[in-house]
Symmetry: C2
Subunit: 342 residues, 2 copies
Amino acid sequence: MYAELFMKKYAIAIDLGGTNLKGGIISNDGYISLYRLIPSEIGKGPDRILKNLIQTIGTLLENARAEQKIIDGIGVATPGIIDPDFGGLTGGAENLPGWKNTPFMRIIHSKFNIPVFAHNDVTATVLAEHRHGAGKGKKNIVLASFGTGIGGGIIIDGKLYGGAAGYAGEIGHLVASFGGETCACGVKGCWEAYASLGGIVRTVRKYLTDTKHLKDTLKKSPIFTTIREAEDADIPRLLFDAARENDRSALEIVDEIGQYTAVGVGSLINILNPELFVIGGGIAEAGAIYLGAIKKHLPNWTLKDSLESVEVVLAKLGYTAGLIGASILVFENINRLNTESS
Amino acid sequence: MYAELFMKKYAIAIDLGGTNLKGGIISNDGYISLYRLIPSEIGKGPDRILKNLIQTIGTLLENARAEQKIIDGIGVATPGIIDPDFGGLTGGAENLPGWKNTPFMRIIHSKFNIPVFAHNDVTATVLAEHRHGAGKGKKNIVLASFGTGIGGGIIIDGKLYGGAAGYAGEIGHLVASFGGETCACGVKGCWEAYASLGGIVRTVRKYLTDTKHLKDTLKKSPIFTTIREAEDADIPRLLFDAARENDRSALEIVDEIGQYTAVGVGSLINILNPELFVIGGGIAEAGAIYLGAIKKHLPNWTLKDSLESVEVVLAKLGYTAGLIGASILVFENINRLNTESS
């Protein structure tokens, strides 16, 4: 028992999102011993984000010291592309305006003088699911994170696959319908334009506007008005709730969303023949009904042999995956700030 | 000099295609010292294919013996999926009717009693291009082979990537236009339905039938009639020849083919961020004009960062790539017949 106590390692982990900044003290077996959530205040610019980051880290460190936990390092998961030589973000965080070319790793390091690690948040998520979640023990995994965009993480032979320059996993920008709907990246027909939050909202609004295609059940259903007047971000939850209550129109819309999602999942299975495909991100919080709609359509878009050799499952770690992934960066020495190049 | 002579290793290599069966004696530095080509006679069934295989291997072995070359093993590249425990093909060779569930590795081994290796032909091609061709020294490569279908080979971290069950690389079946043209696999909208031989022929015939969209140049051009009456397999060559002679309609069709091809190449670059993308297969024999048409359209379908970190090049080894790849199986001990499981 004492040996176990001494062997336990701890990291400060941060998961920076568009809405919230999550922080935690996490042990090397993936347990969160302290958790804090504050608004990330993206709208107030990068200086405010940095201030919130440093304040959260400071508080967590104080707690760790009070509990005599020795901290191995600070791990940060954030949207965008991290360059450990530059010491921060070089770009790619379209949803966090102003959060680019920011050497936040250097700034954190100079403040606390503890090793700092950082990586893209979807990458951190796939690491977490591989080490402690749905992908434990698997060799080849693809994780798709469905939210504002579609992020992807690829594990090959048990290791993160980053590609030539760390950009691998941009699975949302596989073109699934060329000349089709316009994606946030400007291309017409990216999968993301159909199966991300924006794509789902577009599908739902198409049904709600074109009411002649709506089954009477949804028109008469109290959620009809609720969905029509809802904020975009709330629409998937309302839709899946209605479907769970067997609203026939909602079920039909969910089926169409399942189809759009399966097109890309199937293409990725054909290309990479993973043994596990993990469905994660905010939209996947809908759970079994979402997974069921995707799996129903997968045989239409996937080669038989590849489909037979893959399991398609929901992510297990939910909203803590990014945070746990950030701690893994520390424990496995991934993307450590290069202090020699400064 | 004597040391070099003694260190040189040799393999018998076979590349089984839908039209021809190629055989060779190949050294471990990738040089072909003897080359034979005979019709594979696919139409006459798997027994005839086997007979031709064995006869070719026999002749090559006799030659090797006459020249006192010691043969390390026999390597076979073939369409389809190889299982070294089963000792042959388990399926997947749609273009070679009857060529399935054939334990050809066992049959060859029992005949010659020399180690036997085999792998999918596109996989062999990417191995060859990586070790001796366009991809020498590169870590992460995608190779697309454009012919009757679109085959794919993926090298990750310098090693072949097969996925969970050896099916990885089915890049032709990424859905690029869902609900679009019907693919040989039955799915509507696979990339292969647009950018393989069949897709190219369809694009060309669309222009030729719908003559009001044809520029007068092509209508008046002598190749107009030639292309209209040509066999499918000859159409790409005739088209690219006409384009090379600056026929404006031919150039326009080539441009459209470049667009269809770039959609999938771009998607794969976004997903895998390879440092090298190799364009190979029969259609790539058109050379610079084909590569140019693809590269022109790539920026429309590829994320800027990923495009900046990839080189897109033509395959270097041409029609010998499969053969050289088959020899690499021997020299690198890849997919050896498991004689213990028989």
